[in-house]
């Protein structure tokens, strides 16, 4: 299927919108052909993941767009960078890392993006509506925008997110279209004990299993409580988008395109049904920890992937209950949350308890952890997944309660009762 462009799009391609817009359109057109799109679709917003420094190529790309006088054509938020601009000493990269990471972040700002520096832009006020066509990068943000908000985006990688933002276009393919958004797999979670489904720790584990089980298939999950909170869905999506390529999941009775299981399936027969059994979930739970069974020592605790919300900080404060942590405890979040914490006085309380706030970035994308190795405890499925490769730490996964109790005790404390089935 050949890609058809409008007259305006052809004009941008031939340089009518400037050098950078033409480069963005060339890359977009190539991507659209790969994705099998027959045309482009106009978008209303973008979220760019490409501001994180992985090497000098990313800087080269962003600065090429700036040199070509590029400017985003739709409201665009930015994902994390590789520096904590609020706490410059937090990231202990070398001189080259610091300089290049800064240049990359600056370049995206000069393209007209909003310096939000968060992987949870949807909790920083960027919330497109149901059916809205957008182009988002960052795998967890993609899953959240599609699933929880009902907006429409494909999984846009670094560079393509920026090309969409500069041209206000995305390939009309995949999850931008009705057909691809229909669930083909039913996930039956009705047999999971209600007491477990009330715990936040259940959701990243469910997501970890789903990512492995689904790959990139679209599912509808049955049996999730209708009052499940947004942070739980955020954790589910982030984990499923780490172990798999899940970009859209429906939750029957909860998410906008799934009033019922049947509606999410488009009133067709599912290709398969998978059951969330104790064995499968306990298998996913076990996979999240890489430290030897019974490991007692921990070197650090990290929470906040995706970035911690104000509600999650409230829970953290409640669990700390005035106690002080005995191992380094990092809570990663966006500057939108830091400002709220500061205004309410909670920031001082957290810092007094020994919690180190990481803003604009996080511990698996930047060198922040105090040692190059050791054991990291976390309640984030995404940290647990990427931690070993990116930080060199072994991981112990537990609930937020487990993380707090362990940090206060200075040793691993996990409540196995949560998982008795």
């Amino acid at each position: 299927m050949a890609l058809e462009l409008t007259a305006a799009e052809r004009d941008v391609l031939s340089g009518g919108g400037g050098v950078a817009a033409a480069m963005a359109m060339r890359i977009l057109v190539e991507a659209a052909s790969m994705m099998g799109a027959s045309k482009l679709v106009e978008i209303t917003s973008a979220h760019i993941d490409g501001c994180l420094y992985h090497g000098d190529g990313g800087v080269e790309f962003a600065e090429a767009l700036v040199a070509g006088e590029g400017r985003v054509a739709v409201p665009t938020t930015l994902n994390v960078g590789a520096l904590d601009l609020l706490h410059p000493d937090r990231v202990r990269g070398g001189e080259h890392h610091t300089r290049m990471a800064r240049r990359q972040m600056d370049a995206y700002r000069r393209l007209g993006c909003e310096p939000t520096w968060t992987c949870a832009p949807y909790q920083a006020g960027h919330r497109p509506g149901v059916g809205e066509q957008v182009a988002w990068g960052e795998s967890n943000a993609v899953a959240f925008a599609n699933s929880v908000l009902g907006a429409r985006t494909e999984r846009y990688g670094d560079f393509l997110d920026a090309c969409c933002a500069l041209t206000a276009r995305a390939p009309l393919a995949g999850l931008h279209t009705d057909a691809a958004r229909r669930a083909t797999v039913v996930v039956d979670a009705t047999g999971v004990p209600a007491s477990l489904k009330d715990r936040d720790v259940f959701y990243p584990v469910l997501g970890t299993w789903l990512g492995l089980e689904l790959g990139r298939d679209v599912c509808v999950i049955a049996g999730i409580p209708p009052d499940v909170d947004e942070d739980s869905l955020k954790a589910l999506g982030a984990a499923a988008a780490s172990t798999g390529a899940v970009a859209l999941f429906h939750v029957a009775g909860v998410t906008p395109e799934a009033p019922t299981v049947e509606a999410a399936l488009g009133y067709t027969v599912p290709e398969r049904t998978v059951v969330a059994t104790a064995g499968r979930l306990l298998g996913a739970l076990a996979r999240l920890s890489t430290a030897p069974e019974g490991a007692a020592e921990i070197d650090a605790v990290a929470v906040g992937s995706p970035h911690f919300s104000i509600e999650e900080f409230s829970r953290l404060l409640g669990l700390l209950d005035g106690r002080r942590v005995r191992v380094p405890f990092f809570a990663c979040t966006g500057r939108h949350v830091v400002a709220e914490l500061e205004a309410s006085g909670a920031l001082a309380t957290l810092e007094g308890a020994g919690v180190e706030i990481v803003a604009d970035t996080c511990v698996v994308v930047a060198p922040i952890l105090p040692s190059a190795g050791g054991v990291l405890m976390t309640c984030s499925g995404k940290f647990a997944h990427y931690g070993p490769a990116n930080t060199g730490h072994e991981v112990v996964f537990g609930s937020l309660e487990d993380c707090v109790e362990s940090a206060v005790a200075g040793r691993v404390r996990r409540d196995p009762e949560i998982w008795s089935w």
């Binding site: 090497g55 670094d158 172990t243």
Partner: protein, 146 residues
Amino acid sequence: MVTGRVLVDGEAVGPLLCLRAPISLWGGVDPRTGRVSDPRHPDNGRSVAGTVLAIPGAVGSSSSSAVMLELIRNAVAPAAVLLDRSDAILALGVVVARELGHPTVPVVELSLERIRGVPQGTTLKVVAGGRISWPEADDIHLGATR
């Protein structure tokens, strides 16, 4: 010989490395060395540099395009990539590399069923149009004595 769908056209030769599990290049391959760096991946420690890399599924991070670009810039990229299912994220890193004037890497969408039985390390040749060929078993044998 088999023919796949071209995502990025080009020519390359290299030994086949068929990964045994899906991978996220970000968090899965070290962009400086080209080695698989995910301790949970069955091919952890292997180098993808210079190989015809067959990937049974691209998963995970949307930063995988950036890792592909870095692999190319650092001259530790695969010679070619065969993707079981089309993935624009991975291929886009190659498109951007070319746009910035760096070497290109052919990327072909191909059901890996079609190269099942081809031993790891067999020299695969990728030519324009997504055609992939390799010496048949007899040729490999003859090649040793010729």
